[in-house]
Amino acid sequence: MSASTGPSRPDPPERGATSGSPESDPLRGSPEAGQGNGPAPSGEPLLSVRGLKVHFPVRRGVLLQRVAGHVRAVDGVDLDVARGMTYGLVGESGCGKSTLGKAVLRLVEPTAGTVLFNGADLGGQSPERMRRLRRHMQMVFQDPLASLDPRQSVESVLTEPLRAHGFTGDRSRRVRELLDLVGLPSGAAGRYPHEFSGGQRQRIGIARAIALNPELIIADEPVSALDVSIQAQIVNLLEDLQEQLGLTYVVVAHDLAVVRHVSDVIGVMYLGALVEEAPSDALYAQPLHPYTIALMSAIPIPDPEVEERRRRILLVGDLPSPVDVPPGCRFHTRCPFRRPTRCADEVPALRETRPGRKVACHWAEEIAAGAVRAAAGAHDPAATEVGTPSS
């Protein structure tokens, strides 16, 4: 944790505990660190993912457990997350966004690919070194009740990471500090998770994540389990903490409106791969990938006048199985802009069409220019027939 990472960051309390020993932290440029890199220059991305794959074997049979195929949950993802920024990962259920988040922290073991954190390759780390590195990268989970031990008091939840990582300072002072940072009264320390509301529990989960002054926080659906009026409180808290502590976020969520609100850059995932990546304002102003176009047109906007004027592009059918990813473009089976050539047999690369914008579609430019249009019946054909039962 070099001084340059977070100018406004309060004094990292664990520094005294660990700075003495060189091997305690591979990120400090110790010889053992990953590829032997020194501390990354501040212009480098904090997190750099290349060719990341997570495949889960599908086993069949009772005795022999033959591998019958693979669920390609994450299927070759490249992304960079700049320091102090928020990278939003959106996509629908089953697109692999949560698995990707977990694979970055090696909470699930990647099948292939590299993850560089501060220039250090996380893939080459021993379990013990990985454990120590995790101090710098923490996770906030969707369901705060499921991710908090019901028999652990808040104080115990928050001191556990401090103990595990050898924090030698005044633990109860740090707990009060953390509660204050996340907007909970200091009296909360002695209480148990069930005594809190959903929003307050998520605050506890966030306090636990920031307890060790991490640099990176991966938040997996941080607000989707919360009531609408509470979501905004947590979104604002995450924004405030980022500013105060210089945090870098990867926010994984299905709600594009929330992701767009918090993110600087957004990656759109479909069936295990990034299909588009763009600065979040640009993505809204002009989505380039047909899937992004359809996804955005499907998100309801709380304004009847906007809703009346909007053109909806309805996708037909369901997400294909990640065991049988369609050949060619993985979206071509549902794509309203599908062309007879290339889409079904040629895998589109995630390419930069203009600075900062990447899209994995053969026809992105033509679609943006209006030269390739959505199929005339780009709404669910079945929908128009319903309600007039025959017989």
């Binding site: 009531d227 905004a232 309600g387």
Partner: protein, 346 residues
Amino acid sequence: MGPANAASPGSPGSPGSLLDVRDLTVVFRQRGRADVRAVDGVSFSVSPGETVGLVGESGCGKSVTSLAIMGLLPKRGVHVTGGVAFDGTDLLALPPDKLRALRGRELAVVFQDPMTSLNPVVPIGTQVTEVLTRHRGLGNGEARREAADLLRRVGIPDPSRRLREYPHQLSGGMRQRALIAAALACRPRLLIADEPTTALDVTIQAQILELLRTLVAESGTALVLITHDLGVVAGMCDTVHVMYAGRIVERAPRYDLFASPRHPYTGGLLASVPRLDQPRGVRLEPIKGSPRDTIPWARGCAFAPRCPNRVEACTPDAPDLEGGRHALRCVNPLPSDSPEAKVVHP
């Protein structure tokens, strides 16, 4: 559905209404505990071809309202009062067998979670045909053909294969569509959809909502849509009822409601959701506290503890729901041209 219907205020007792809910109150009684008034004097009505929305957060009583209308609440420990008139028949006074004959045939309901609404050990086909054989007296083969037709209409590909499958073999979106197919099997005149798309992805949600829109427009079905999602309401409902702590706090045609929310709770909800079409960098304005921080209506406005507009008069007497087209339960509402109502388009 559309702007043409916006003139219908959906207020109780409006002429031509199919469902008329009056002063519906549901009290849960448990020995040794205080009574819980989950629904507290709710009144609204729905006409054929109209979509009425009940909006609110968890615990506001919107789902209990739907269960009470359908007569699906347990008898023990539950006290339901008020009136639910369906085409002139009081559903609350109807004997169970008469109600059963009506339910599934004239009125149908679709719940949020298709996995718990469908029987996991019975094939989809049997669950859809059951409605047809029971209520329309179709023979097995005929019911089977009709069921396949229904599945096809709700957008399930390869329906005859799907009919033989079990709920776990279908995706979430497909299960929800199968459930809607079963609900539509008897062409009900009233459909209650309780968070029909909450468990689904947005692209599937768009398909289901389109299905419901078409159903209302073409069959003249009266739709009660229960949801927490203001975006869904904005695109679907003619009249919107905002519920808080068991009571309707604001009722308005959707254009009025979104253009000029008057109740501080409605305004707060709208200000706390990020909008896809809003410029980034606008800070969200959450409602403080949580839905737990409420006071009983007997001691004043239940929203008062969280309300930014709170005044002396908010307690101890709770305000009544007053007004015609745009009705309000508030002593110090937002001005009718409040900034929350102004929507910034990029």
